[in-house]
Symmetry: C2
Subunit: 413 residues, 2 copies
């Protein structure tokens, strides 16, 4: 993509009311736009990051037989009353509105209820199970405060998956598979070495649920980490978690972290409430066993920014970067440098390499500063030297290391 | 995809309260789920159709330099008050809600205001123009009645694009390009020969806007079509439209149609209201010229269903079908037929051909009826004959025509 055509511009300053580093940087770099506190639009570069994260998650969910759907934002009051989660005393993040008829409707902050209710159309027998269903949904949550940028929004994108199993054993088997799938997601996104499965409170049915917590100073949670075991415990279940892990308090590190995923067993509680039953091989009616599995897509994006950015700006891991390369021409329209840059751009596009091409007439210093702010993994510089020698400077954003590469080497990499 | 794994099932009957043919068929085939009147979830097969339509639209918008973003559902009251479109008297489709602070917020039913307001951060000079920005957004509209299935929803997906130009001339140039892009979209989707640019009322700035109307008995509009010119006139501007086209009433056919797209010139009205100005080459401050360009993605899907379905069920044009092929095995697990079907399936998957594979143990009649209901363009039947001769029956859904094809011919097609 030509930067001369990109409608977004970088800014020197973030809005004065924006206190979160992730949003400050993303706004300055033109990746997102703040509509109101906790509510952000995603602009061309930001949307590309969102879509890359989604695609990684999608691939891993498909690998464990997840089937993608998209539920609705509008929610029926009557359905949520069945599970006693319509009441603002029980769920304090509802946005509610009204149909013209006067009937109250809610805006989806979670989707266990409607998906489970819908599954009654598709599940009658053990032959219809197991079923694994997921979506990428824009969730609306009426948070009292929203000061963490895209790490806790009033409007945000979440992947939520739901599993429907015949038995606790089948459920546990999938629970384990999802744990592994989640690990692969965080590995691929570049957060594998600092993201840990974490015991958290389990609700009515099980003692524990699992969170995936990424070590991050801007995270809202405090967890207790056992580095040797690669596992952690959430503050609220510290005592029982230590017992479960067989460790003592002094083996654990108290660290700040962001909850980027969670896995939850509902057992048969919700199925009984909502009436989701199946007939087993002997014709006996039983409630379906339910699990839920979340990954905060935009929170993950914010966490990546918080962790990898530096004084100069954003630093994207290659797997989620909007473009792998930032091709920066130091020429002026029509000169030899510019002609060379144009031909390299054409070749990269032809070879299906994702490249942002700074083809604008600006000073080199300005271009480099902006390139650092935008944070593509590799910068290819086209200047006088490249014209003279056919060798390009390639700068790695994360380390600043400079390599000299020929035309052919760039195309092959 | 293996049908044995697909969690959705077909149904003999649509819900009693569903009166629209498009929703009846899509629900019976398991493509969508009705959450409430005018509010539908998209299940695996349905989501695939939505994504295919989106991808065709995306490619055509990118070709005319559109840049994809995603705005927010939550809307600021203050912004919409500026253009006097917050008031329920002026806009009667708002869903409104409240932040915890008590401040009113709206749910986006259109996005001219927030996008135009946002563009103030990015447009200052003529050098920043033109800019073309689009999104696929879930719009919420509080319709009094919702009886047209996915053709008029309270929650639906729309592509909306906005153009920002320095002059009326530049604007008209892009307006024309978008007309052509829209024609390509409807061609590719299979509706080219029955979709017509249609004069409609233009609002404050221009005499006319353009709708794209698809001939369809279930459409809500009545238009006056001149087949020779390939153009139509909306009822509300019939007189002035005939003048513009230089035709008389008796040259026009009165037909029912569905509005699948529209193109609208705002001139400088909205830019002045919202304060979007630029400096021209002489440093003179001028309002930006604005246009808006919509395509109803889910309405388009509903229109396709209304037009192409038959007594047996859905009939998808190849460009938007969830899968190109429906591979139907008439074998039982482990027999020769089933083994052959498995190997054909493996080969098609290997060759990246999109195929739904009916690998279930069901009677042939039941499988064929369901295959007709699901509506993939081509059905490959694997039965005794195929085992004996190596030649497969391939049935075209739209005509019912049967061709005999060898293994190699299927893979090559």
């Amino acid at each position: 993509m030509r930067q001369s055509k990109l409608f977004t511009k970088t800014r020197r300053e973030a809005p004065a009311d924006e206190v979160a580093k992730n949003a400050q940087l993303l706004i300055r770099a033109g990746y997102i736009h703040k509509e109101m506190a906790g509510v952000y639009a995603y602009l061309p570069l930001g949307l590309r990051v969102v879509e890359r994260i989604k695609q990684i998650v999608r691939e891993e969910m498909n690998k464990i037989d997840g089937q993608e759907i998209i539920m609705t934002a509008l929610q029926r009051k009557e359905l949520w009353e069945v599970t006693d989660r319509w009441n603002d005393k029980n769920v304090d993040v509802w946005f509610k509105s009204q149909l013209k008829s006067g009937a109250e409707v809610g805006l989806g902050w979670s989707h266990e209820e409607p998906i489970t209710d819908m599954m009654k159309h598709f599940i009658a027998s053990y032959r219809d199970l197991p079923a694994y269903v997921y979506q990428f949904q824009t969730k609306l949550r009426n948070e009292l405060r929203a000061k963490s940028g895209i790490m806790r929004g009033r409007e945000f994108i979440m992947k939520d998956m739901y599993s429907y199993s015949v038995s606790e054993e089948e459920h546990q088997n999938f629970y384990g598979k999802t744990m592994e799938a989640y690990k692969r997601v965080f590995e691929r996104i570049g957060l594998g070495d600092r993201t840990f499965p974490t015991f958290a409170s389990g609700g009515a049915f099980t003692q524990f649920s699992h969170e995936f917590q990424t070590l991050c100073d801007a995270g809202e949670d405090v967890i207790y980490l056992h580095r040797g075991k690669g596992q952690a415990i959430n503050k609220e279940v510290l005592e029982s978690g230590m017992e479960q892990m067989g460790v003592s308090r002094d083996e654990l590190e108290e660290v700040r972290a962001a909850e980027v995923g969670n896995i939850f067993s509902f057992g048969d509680v919700k199925s009984k409430q909502l009436g989701l039953y199946f007939r087993d091989e002997d014709g006996v009616e039983k409630p379906v066993i339910l699990g839920s599995y979340g990954i905060g897509i935009t929170r993950l994006m914010g966490t990546i920014v918080e962790i990898f950015s530096d004084g100069k700006g954003l630093v994207w891991p290659e797997s989620v970067a909007p473009f792998k390369y930032h091709l920066v021409s130091l020429g002026r329209e029509g000169d030899d440098i510019s002609k060379l840059a144009e031909s390299v751009y054409a070749e990269l596009v032809e070879a299906d390499v994702e490249v942002l091409y700074d083809d604008r007439d600006l000073r080199a210093g300005e271009k480099f500063a902006e390139s650092d702010l935008l944070g593509m993994p590799h910068r290819i510089v086209v200047g006088k030297d490249a014209v003279a020698t056919g060798v390009f400077e390639v700068v790695r954003r994360v380390t600043g290391a400079v390599e000299k590469k020929s035309h052919a080497e760039i195309l092959a990499s």
